[in-house]
Amino acid sequence: MKPSLIKQGIAAIAVAAFAVGAATSAVAAPKKGGTLSFVVGSKIPSYDGHQETTFGMIHPIRPFYSLLIRVNPSNPSDPTDFQCDICEGAVPAGAKGGTEYTFKIRKDVQFHDGTPLTAHDVKATFDKIIFPPKGVPSSRKAFFMMVDSVKAPDDYTVVFTLKFPSGAFIPSVATPFNFIYSKKDIDTHGYEWHKKNINGSGAFKFVEHISGQHVAGVRHDGYHHAGKPYLDGFKAISAPKMKVRLDAIRGDRASIEFRGFPPKARDDLVNALGDKITVQESDWNCVLMATANTKNKPFDDIRVRQALTLAVDRYEGSKYLSQIAIVKTVGGIVFPNHPLAANAQELEGLIGYSRDIKASRAKARALLKEAGAEGLEFSFNNRGVDQPYKVVGTWLVDQWRKVGFKPKQRVQPSPQFYATLRKKHDFDVSIDFNCQSVINPIADVTKSLCSAGNNYSQCENQELEDLYMQLLKAETAADQRKIMRVYEKKALDYAGSSITLWWYKINPHRSYVKGWSIAPSHYLNQHLDNVWLDQ
């Protein structure tokens, strides 16, 4: 090696070492103390995670509870990285051909009232979620259709027995709504008690909830993750208006908002505060769809539905919409970049995803002509929420007009919008959406099933149902991926619901907030035990 090359090599190593060192020193040791104030844009219907579905409950209440397992707080973007919360060691792999999962429960976990947490509490919790008695609501019962029984053979062991092996099981367990309740509370006070009372084993203890104003929590000194939490407490301040949430961060009345802001809001904050603001961004496990009412003519004709999806230029749309709305990523029915998702090449082979939009639109026009539906006028139901519904809806109207459709957009407030989708069915095409917490593609793609309660296309498609059962029971990742490709193609070809763009999460926050990493869902990573304030 020539001397100059050696010198260059040494210099390169030195620069690299400096960079690593700088990076290491930049990751300062967490500081203890302080109260985190954050703003929440939605309301708390009740404190019962097993029943509720809104982030308005998760953000202020999740810090009071533990889960059996959770997404890795340091690596929440990885959809396959789960960690034990109240269990010991690594997340167990399925035994007996993937039909038995045994969790060893930590012996140092305590509820806030001082009661030790045991396997019986975990069993009581999952019994309530999976096998609720008649009259007890459980919003995630359907996630656990593979579970046969939950047993606690001793105080610190919980065994889940599955009816069949399923890749959807572990992500379902990690769902952030699965708060671990005390068996004693359930037995003593009944199943309704947790709607209005809190006794968890999370990083923070409940202090107060002033309805419509704030929820406050203080550090739980007996928290089972050593040295955590770092904060003395937190205050979750209710602020329904986005402008207020944005101003609150700017005026330092709140340090962070965990749901997400549109790009313009991010830019305004950064322009006003410079490096006092840190921005974290991520793909978001929510997607908007255009759902056709297959009971309404001519949308009972697959050709008309396919024309709807062929007309849409997702790649160009992404480029422009991502500048003004919380959408960005082009993807199929599976969360983009997940191992089960279609790669770029596979995606381009699906209907509506060709890079050649001229050819797609020509095909759409031909299909419409063939179906006798040229210049079709139809009603397009949309939800009266700006981000991203109205933005994406208006874009879709424009896209459909390019192949001769004449949609009439009808924007309705949320109650009326849902009444139209679920009961009245007085729409031809509607905006629809699928928004989940833990990335669990095998569960998330049930939205495409005609039998699913949240599929509003009123369709019938047994082929998809059969394929889904194969997918649910597929044991290996390779098998799951293979079946998923077929399922995805069939679902998109059927075109009951066509995917538009996946949401994109933007979280600008005060730079002194450390330890919190953005997750691909606004429901995830909200336990706050790793958050600290660099002040």
Binding site: S46, E52, V244, Q416, G453, N454
Partner: protein, 323 residues
């Protein structure tokens, strides 16, 4: 006087019944219900049976007449029930917000009175001078400018101004602290909405004070007082202004009642957890019970405020006698 008061109080009953029927029917006409919003409002999978179960628990499956009967009897027995959204007692939910709304209403009224009466009086006394023109311009601007918009400007101005002068942006607190707990923090939050709403309120009252005073100043008894050589200050303060206050008082009464439930947008702008915001949230969540009781509360406030204003007329103008 007693019979007048009794008559007015009895007249409240049919007003309340009318309001109760109206709000009950209107809420049921709107599609959807609180269970749909709560369980199916996020687009996640939901079992229809669970929605039905929720409806049963909230009593929404009972016949409408039975629901109306419960609503009315609950009102009569002061058992207002629970919020269909939070499950907390309606009295508790409203009580929390009432204190804040009442304080904002009182502060805005004070701001309005402090601005309106002196300005209106000066404007009338100095009619057609530059002072009059300036006051009229100021008051017309107040009428033209929605208070929520002024609120947005105030917050923006505070953020930009404080950053410019002190290096760090400042905005008013975004959650309520009782004045008995921390008067400084309480005023730091509420003074701004009081100014934003009080300005618009004062603009109406200023114009009313001016026109009423101009009218009174042309009365014979004012001319007589001047002819007697009475001091102008005494004429204005003791004889003219008091009599000119009747229409102003009416305006103040109407505006006060409006402020107690109608600050819907301004409360959102300043993130005030008041009655107006609760109204919006209850309607959005289709919380029938809460919305019904809020409407009834606002009706009672409006009726009682008008009643009190009517009684004040007698005090201000001895010619008015109730019988």
């Amino acid at each position: 006087m007693h019979s007048y008061i009794t008559k007015r109080l009895l007249m409240i009953i049919p007003t309340l019944i009318g309001a109760a029927i109206l709000v009950f029917c209107l809420l049921r006409i709107i599609p959807g219900d609180p269970c749909e919003i709560r369980l199916a409002g996020t687009g996640l999978y939901v079992d229809e049976a669970e929605i039905e179960l929720c409806r049963e628990k909230l009593g929404l499956t009972k016949p409408l007449l039975v629901q109306f009967y419960h609503f009315v009897t609950g009102y009569v027995t002061w058992d207002l029930g629970e919020s269909m959204w939070t499950g907390k007692p309606v009295t508790e939910e409203i009580g929390l917000r009432f204190q804040l709304s009442l304080q904002v209403a009182i502060m805005a009224t004070l701001v309005a009175i402090i601005i309106a009466i002196p300005l209106g009086a000066i404007s009338a006394i100095k009619q057609d001078t530059w002072i009059d023109y300036a006051v009229r311009t100021f008051s017309i601007a107040g009428i033209a400018m929605p208070s929520f918009w002024l609120g947005i400007l105030i917050i923006l101005g505070l953020l930009i101004g404080t950053q410019h002068f002190f290096g760090e942006p400042w905005m008013p607190p975004i959650y309520y602290v009782s004045p008995f707990e921390d008067l400084g923090a309480n005023l730091a939050q509420l003074i701004w909405p009081a100014v934003a709403t009080g300005y618009r309120y004062s603009a109406v009252a200023t114009r009313m004070t001016r026109s009423a005073l101009l009218e009174v100043l042309r009365e014979d008894y004012i001319r007589t007082a001047r002819a007697k050589g009475m001091l102008e200050k005494i004429i204005i303060n003791r004889h003219a202004l008091k009599n000119a206050m009747l229409p102003v008082l009416t305006i103040i009464g109407i505006e006060f009642a409006f402020l107690m439930g109608g600050l819907v947008v301004t409360e959102q702008v300043f993130n005030l957890n008041g009655i107006g915001r609760l109204f919006v949230e209850s309607v959005g969540a289709q919380d029938f019970n809460m919305t019904q009781q809020l409407v009834m509360l606002v009706v009672v406030i409006a009726v009682m405020t008008n009643f009190v204003v009517d009684l004040f007329y007698g005090w201000l103008d001895p010619r008015i006698r109730y019988g």
